[in-house]
């Protein structure tokens, strides 16, 4: 069993989480070609060493997290902001429960 350092819940068993995968930057779908888009979809670094990846704390705070993990020893050394912040820039406010009202596309509950 490995422990993942959830920034909200503290160190928790990996079985509480869903592994999402390697962190990769999504290209702008409107500006990218098919080749680059498919490379984003399928190609992976898959390193044997430290990697940055996304996990979902499904049995805890239900937040997406970015975790640094060593893929050979399964040590973790840092975790942090929800991946949505890093990946999608502008949507960070929604991801952190921030200024939803300004987002005309989102419903307000």
């Amino acid at each position: 069993m490995i422990l993942l350092p959830c920034p909200y819940c503290g160190p928790r068993n990996a079985s509480e989480f869903r592994y999402v995968g390697e962190l990769s930057e999504r290209p702008d779908p409107n500006a990218t070609g098919a080749g680059e888009w498919r490379a984003f979809l399928y190609m992976r670094d898959n390193p044997a060493g430290w990697t940055t990846e996304t996990w979902f704390h499904r049995a805890g705070c239900r937040q997406h997290l970015v975790v640094e993990r060593h893929t050979v020893t399964n040590e973790t050394r840092a975790s942090g902001l929800p991946a949505a912040q890093l990946l999608y820039g502008k949507q960070e406010e929604r991801a952190t429960g921030g200024n939803v009202a300004n987002d005309s596309g989102g419903a307000i509950y």
């Binding site: 069993m1 990996a14 079985s15 592994y19 390697e22 992976r44 898959n46 996990w55 893929t71």
Partner: protein, 436 residues
């Protein structure tokens, strides 16, 4: 080219046309050695590294050794090195659960794996090495309507390709496996199964050793404890490899590794759509033979077979996250035991002897990556996920043909690396995600 099992060949152990006929194993030999207690001759030799080879195969598992064997036997290419960083068969070839079948979902997958089953059927005779292939049948259970529908789909594709494969009812399953709980009271009642009589299990070490002995007899060099540290690429062409024992000049490098295939491809600058996941397996203490076919349940994420020694071999789906670690976990054993007991409650008092893990290179479409890359001379035989062992012979045969002729054989056309760029994926998940 003289066939390997040609009795008329020279038997004095000297090399002739690059072919050194090994001492033939026979029942008489077994008795003679048994009574005299004399040592058996080495099945393959040690060599110094040559400064150059025609072909360098990276990875001394069943894929790499089979490639070297068929290169020599079918195409006369014998100046070949197989580089293995540990001992041969120490990776996936010695860690799989040795299940062989061809009842896949896609026509190209079915044709490919069927060729492998055919090669396995004659392998012991071809190699003069008993691989103990036991075609005891293979049952893939369906516990849901969706599962049963996939079984029917697979059965129809299989029949179209001439494979012996059919969907059977629970009473027929009960007849084949009396210990199985086929009642409707089970937590996941069994609705039917895909029955594949030619499927079965084999001794995986013997397959590795047989191919090593065969390749060695033809003059291929098997270098154990030889780790590839870098691949020399100049102007988009392979020029050589650097190893911990020295440099080798070569024009052709074949990546036949599993688990570490991304790291080898990185050396050549080829990016791949692979994530490496551990897959765990476990084996029980031996008991009297009671389980004939191989049982697979995708819903329960478990498969089980009984070896010739009487042990039950269990496996499951890959671990829940990507890793190069081969440590076992207690959750695996616990989950596995629960699922096995749902199928066969009478196994409750069996004890697990040991568990282990191997590395699986998972591709997005559960199909391998075989063939050429943008780097001339750098070939791939990777991405073997959880189904690599059963494809060993046909992979060796087709990769050898690709190297010798420079043309991608029809059987593996669909498995090229460029399919990810073209968005032309294979879609074998329905038959390979758990069923291995």
């Amino acid at each position: 080219m003289r066939p390997f099992n040609n009795r008329n060949g020279s038997s004095n152990g000297h090399r002739k046309n690059g072919y050194r006929k090994p001492t033939r194993y026979s029942a008489f030999d077994l008795i003679r050695h048994g009574l005299s207690g004399s040592d058996w001759p080495r099945a393959w030799r040690k060599h110094d590294l040559r400064p150059s080879y025609d072909v360098v195969v990276v990875g001394g598992g069943v894929h790499g050794l089979a490639t070297a064997y068929y290169l020599a036997r079918e195409h006369g290419i014998t100046n070949v090195a197989v580089l293995e960083k540990g001992y041969i068969g120490s990776g996936g070839s010695g860690r799989n659960t040795a299940i062989i079948r061809s009842n896949y979902l896609t026509p190209e997958g079915v044709r490919f794996y069927d060729r492998s089953v055919k090669l396995y059927e004659t392998l012991s005779a071809d190699l003069n090495f008993n691989a103990m292939f036991a075609q005891r049948g293979h049952l893939t259970l369906a516990h849901t309507d969706g599962g049963l529908r996939t079984m029917h789909w697979r059965a129809e594709v299989n029949k179209l390709e001439g494979i012996n494969s059919e969907v059977i009812e629970p009473d027929e399953i009960k007849r084949l496996v009396p210990f199985m709980d086929t009642s409707e009271d089970a937590r996941y009642p069994i609705l039917g199964a895909l029955y594949h009589p030619p499927g079965g299990i084999i001794r995986h070490d013997a397959v590795v050793w047989g191919y090593a002995r065969g390749a060695d007899a033809y003059g291929a060099h098997i270098h154990q404890n030889t780790e590839v540290q870098d691949i020399d690429v100049v102007d988009g062409r392979v020029r050589g490899v650097k190893t911990n024992r020295g440099d080798i000049a070569t024009r052709v490098v074949v990546n036949c590794t599993a688990g570490w295939s991304t790291l080898i491809s990185d050396m050549a600058g080829v990016r791949m759509p692979i994530s490496t996941f551990p897959l765990q397996a476990a084996v029980t203490e031996p008991v009297k033979p009671f389980l004939d076919p191989v049982i697979v349940s995708g819903t329960l994420h478990v498969y089980v077979s009984q070896t010739d020694r009487g042990e039950l071999v269990f496996g499951a789906s890959v671990d829940p996250f990507a890793s190069y670690s081969m440590r076992g976990s207690l959750e695996f054993t616990e989950g596995l035991a629960g699922h096995v007991l749902e199928l066969m409650p009478s196994l409750a008092k069996m004890r697990v002897l040991r568990q282990w893990a191997g590395l699986c290179d998972m591709t997005p479409d559960f199909a391998p990556i075989m063939g050429v890359t943008p780097v001339a001379g750098f070939l791939l035989d990777v991405g073997w996920g959880t189904y690599g062992f059963k494809a060993g012979p046909v992979s060796g045969e087709t990769m050898a043909e690709l190297i010798a002729t420079g043309k991608t054989p029809k059987l593996i056309e669909t498995f090229g690396l460029d399919r990810f760029e073209k968005g032309d994926l294979v879609g074998e998940k329905g038959a390979a995600a758990v069923g291995h």
